[in-house]
C-alpha cells in the first residue's frame, strides 16, 4: 500500500465537490485552491460542469489524466461504489471524510469499504476523518475553512490524531503558537490504515523530528506496542490518551485485575516504550515545543535567571518537585557575572538580576551559564512588567537559544505586552511558558527522554 501518496500526491480528485459554499465538498475545493496545492485538482460531481473555475467531472473514470488521491465526501452508502470506481481508475490513495460507518454501528458498510480498498490496494484513511495536511505539498483535506482554523507553518512536528475535533483544535492552536508542522493526519475509524500504520509512516519520514499522537484506543495493541517501542529509538513521541477514566472498572476477581485497568495498562505501555505521556492538551504543547526547539539534555542541573525574586523562589520549588537539581555556579561564572552586574546583585543560583535589570544583564547571565560546565539547562524568568525590560531581550534570548548548546526555557507570566513578546520568542524557536511549573515539568520529560537516548 502506498501511504506516501496521501501526503505527496500529484493530483487529487474531490468526490462530492459542490458549488454550495456551505457544503464540505465546496470547502475542500476552495481549500486546495487557496492553500496553493501544487498538483492538479479534479472536482467530481455528475450534476455540475465547473466549480470555482475548475472543470468538474461526472466520475473519476471521466478524468483523462492519472489521479493519485481521492478525497471522498459523499453519503456513506455511496462510498464503497465510489472507491470501486477509484480502484478501477488506478487511484492509489483515498481519504474518506464521510461518517456513518462503524461509529454509528454500521459495521457492515465499513467492512465493505475495507474489502474494496484491499482488493484494489488503495491506501485509505477514514472513514469519519479529517485526513491530512502537508504544508510542504499543500495537500489539505481538512474540511474546515481557513478563516475558522489556521494552518501551521512548515516545520518538523508530525501530529497523528484519531479524533478529528481534537485534531482541528490542536492544529488551530499550533498555527496560533507558531508551531512548525511536517504532517498532520486524522485517521478516524481506521478501517484500513490505523494509528500503527501512521506511526510507522512518520517514523520513517525524514522531515519529521517529533511525533505527537492523540489516541482514544488502539486497534492492534501488540503491533502498536512493538512499533512504538521501535519508533521512540529514532524520534521522541509525545502521546495523549483520551478516555482514561472510563472502562477500567470491569468486574474482576483478583487484586491485579482490579488495579491493572485499561488506563494503567496504557500508562505502562507508554512508559515501557519510552514515549512521553501528556496528561492533557496543554502538556502536548508544553512538551513538544521544547523537544522540537531545544537540544537533548541528560543532565539534571538547572540554572535559573530572573529579574524577580519571587519568580526565582517558585522556579526553585518546581525544580525540586520534579526531581531536578539546582546547579552551583562555577567560580568562572561568578567572576564573569559579578564583573558585569551591579554590586547589589547576589551572585548565586537562582540568579536574581533584580528588578531594574535590562537585556544586557540577562545576556551576560545567560552566556555565562551556557559556558558553565556545572549547568545542564537554563530557565529564564522574565517579568516584562518591569521598567527596563522591552523587546531588546527577545534578540538576546533568541541568539542564545540558537547556539543550541543547552536547553533554554523562558517563563514569562503576564498580559498583552508579555504575550506579544512571548509569541515573538516562540516564532523564533524559544519555548515560553506562563509558569515555571509547566516549564520545569517539560524539562523533566526532555531529560528523561535524553537519558533513554543516551543509554542506547
Amino acid at each position: 500500500m502506498n501511504v506516501d501518496v496521501l501526503f505527496n500526491p500529484n493530483s487529487v480528485a474531490i468526490i462530492g465537490a459542490s458549488r454550495d459554499p456551505g457544503k464540505i465538498g465546496h470547502v475542500l475545493v476552495r481549500n486546495s485552491i487557496e492553500g496553493g496545492f501544487r498538483g492538479r485538482v479534479y472536482p467530481i460531481n455528475p450534476k455540475c460542469s465547473e466549480i470555482l473555475d475548475l472543470k468538474c467531472y461526472p466520475s473519476v473514470k471521466d478524468v483523462e489524466g492519472e489521479i493519485d488521491l481521492a478525497v471522498i465526501a459523499i453519503p456513506a452508502k455511496f462510498v464503497p461504489d465510489a472507491l470501486k470506481e477509484c480502484g478501477e481508475k488506478g487511484v492509489k490513495g483515498a481519504i474518506v471524510i464521510s461518517g456513518g460507518f462503524s461509529e454509528v454501528g454500521n459495521v457492515e458498510l465499513e467492512n465493505e469499504l475495507r474489502e474494496v480498498c484491499r482488493k484494489y490496494d488503495i491506501a485509505c484513511l477514514g472513514p469519519n476523518c479529517m485526513g491530512v495536511i502537508n504544508p510542504l505539498t499543500r495537500v489539505d483535506s481538512v474540511f474546515i475553512p481557513t478563516y475558522k482554523m489556521g494552518r501551521p507553518k512548515l516545520g518538523t512536528v508530525s501530529f497523528i490524531s484519531q479524533s478529528g475535533a481534537i485534531g482541528g483544535a490542536v492544529l488551530d492552536l499550533m498555527a496560533r503558537q507558531g508551531f512548525g508542522m511536517s504532517k498532520f493526519v486524522s485517521y478516524g475509524n481506521g478501517a484500513v490504515l490505523d494509528e500503527t500504520d501512521m506511526l510507522r509512516y512518520v517514523a520513517d519520514d525524514d522531515k519529521t523530528r517529533i511525533i505527537v499522537l492523540y489516541i482514544e484506543g488502539v486497534r492492534r495493541g501488540r503491533e502498536f506496542f512493538e512499533t512504538l517501542k521501535e519508533v521512540t529509538k529514532k524520534k521522541p513521541v509525545v502521546v495523549l490518551k483520551g478516555g482514561k477514566t472510563a472502562g477500567g472498572a470491569a468486574a474482576t476477581k483478583s487484586h491485579t485485575g482490579s488495579l491493572a485497568g485499561n488506563a494503567a495498562v496504557y500508562e505502562a505501555v507508554f512508559k515501557q516504550c519510552n514515549a512521553t505521556e501528556a496528561r492533557n492538551l496543554d502538556q502536548i504543547f508544553d512538551f513538544s515545543k521544547l523537544f522540537e526547539s531545544q537540544p537533548f539534555c541528560s543532565g539534571e542541573r538547572v540554572g535559573i535567571i530572573t529579574n524577580g525574586g519571587g519568580l526565582a523562589v517558585i522556579a526553585t520549588d518546581s525544580v525540586e518537585e520534579n526531581g531536578l537539581k539546582l546547579a552551583e555556579l562555577s567560580e568562572e561564572s561568578k567572576r564573569r557575572i559579578s564583573e558585569n552586574v551591579p554590586a547589589y546583585v547576589n551572585i548565586k543560583n537562582p540568579l536574581d538580576l533584580s528588578g531594574d535589570a535590562g537585556a544586557d544583564r540577562f545576556g551576560v547571565a545567560v552566556h555565562s551559564m551556557l559556558e558553565d560546565p556545572d549547568i545542564d539547562a537554563i530557565l529564564v524568568g522574565v517579568l516584562f512588567q518591569t521598567e527596563n525590560i522591552d523587546s531588546r531581550i527577545v534578540s538576546i534570548l533568541v541568539e542564545a537559544s540558537n547556539l543550541k548548546k543547552k536547553p533554554i526555557l523562558v517563563v514569562c507570566p503576564g498580559g498583552e505586552y508579555t504575550e506579544v513578546h512571548s509569541r515573538m520568542l516562540e516564532n523564533c524557536g524559544v519555548p515560553t511558558y506562563t509558569s515555571s511549573a509547566h516549564a520545569i515539568n517539560a524539562l523533566r520529560k526532555l531529560v528523561d527522554y535524553s537519558k533513554f537516548v543516551n543509554k542506547r
Binding site: S254, T256, A260, Q272
Partner: protein
C-alpha cells in the same frame, strides 16, 4: 483453576513456593504437618479467606491443629470446600504481590507491588507488558513508592532485589506462555535478605 494446579504451574517456572499439601481429613493433616504450619481452606467460593476466618497461622502441635481444622471448616459455612492446605509456616519478611492479567489489546501484563493490604489502599504498584527483561524488572521495583522499604530503612536489612527481579521475569514468562490465564495473583511473595518464598496464589483462567 484449582489451587494445587496453580501452584504446580508456578513451580514449573522454577519459582520457590512454600511447601504444602492439600488434605481432605484432619487425620491426613496430622500426618503431613511439620510444625509450625498454616492451615488454609481451599474453596473457589471463598475469595477472602482470612476475612472469613478460614486461615490459621502458626499452628504449633497436633492439638492446636485439630482445633484449628474444625474451626476453619465451620467458618467456611455452606461454601463448597475442595480441601485444606497444610503449609509450612514461612519465615517473616517483606511481603509483596506479583500478579498478572490478560489485557484485550496488549496481551499479558505483569504487576508488582507491596503485598497485603497496602497495594489496594495506596494503589502503589508498577505494571509492564510481558515479556519483560531484567532492566524492566528492576525498573518495576524501583518505581513503586515503597521502594525504600526494599532497600532497608531504619536499620532494616535490604531485601534481595535480584531475587525479586528474577521472580518477575519468571512470572512474565509464565503469563506470556500460558494464554489460558486471564488473571493471576501470587500474593504474598515474601522476600528476605537472601532469597524469597511464594506463599499463596490464585490463577483465574
Amino acid at each position: 483453576m484449582r489451587y494445587q494446579d496453580a501452584v504446580a504451574l508456578i513451580k514449573r517456572y522454577d519459582i520457590n513456593f512454600v511447601e504444602g499439601s492439600v488434605v481432605r481429613t484432619v487425620d491426613e493433616a496430622l500426618k503431613v504437618a511439620k510444625y509450625p504450619v498454616v492451615l488454609k481452606i481451599i474453596s473457589d467460593e471463598i475469595l477472602h479467606k482470612s476475612d472469613q476466618g478460614c486461615v490459621k497461622l502458626d499452628v504449633k502441635d497436633a492439638d492446636s491443629l485439630r482445633k484449628a481444622y474444625s474451626e476453619i471448616m465451620s467458618n467456611a459455612g455452606n461454601a463448597k470446600v475442595d480441601g485444606v492446605l497444610v503449609q509450612s509456616m514461612a519465615k517473616p519478611g517483606l511481603e509483596m504481590i506479583v500478579g498478572g492479567r490478560r489485557d484485550e489489546q496488549f496481551g499479558p501484563v505483569i504487576l508488582f507491588g507491596l503485598g497485603g493490604i497496602f497495594v489496594e489502599v495506596f494503589k502503589d504498584f508498577s505494571l509492564r507488558v510481558c515479556p519483560i527483561d531484567r532492566d524492566d524488572a528492576l525498573e518495576m521495583i524501583t518505581e513503586i513508592k515503597a521502594y525504600p522499604l526494599f532497600k532497608g530503612v531504619r536499620g532494616g536489612k535490604p531485601a534481595d532485589i535480584e531475587a525479586i527481579a528474577d521472580v518477575l521475569q519468571k512470572v512474565s514468562k509464565l503469563l506470556y506462555e500460558n494464554e489460558q490465564i486471564n488473571e493471576m495473583d501470587i500474593n504474598p511473595v515474601i522476600v528476605y535478605g537472601k532469597g524469597y518464598c511464594a506463599v499463596d496464589a490464585r490463577v483465574l483462567p
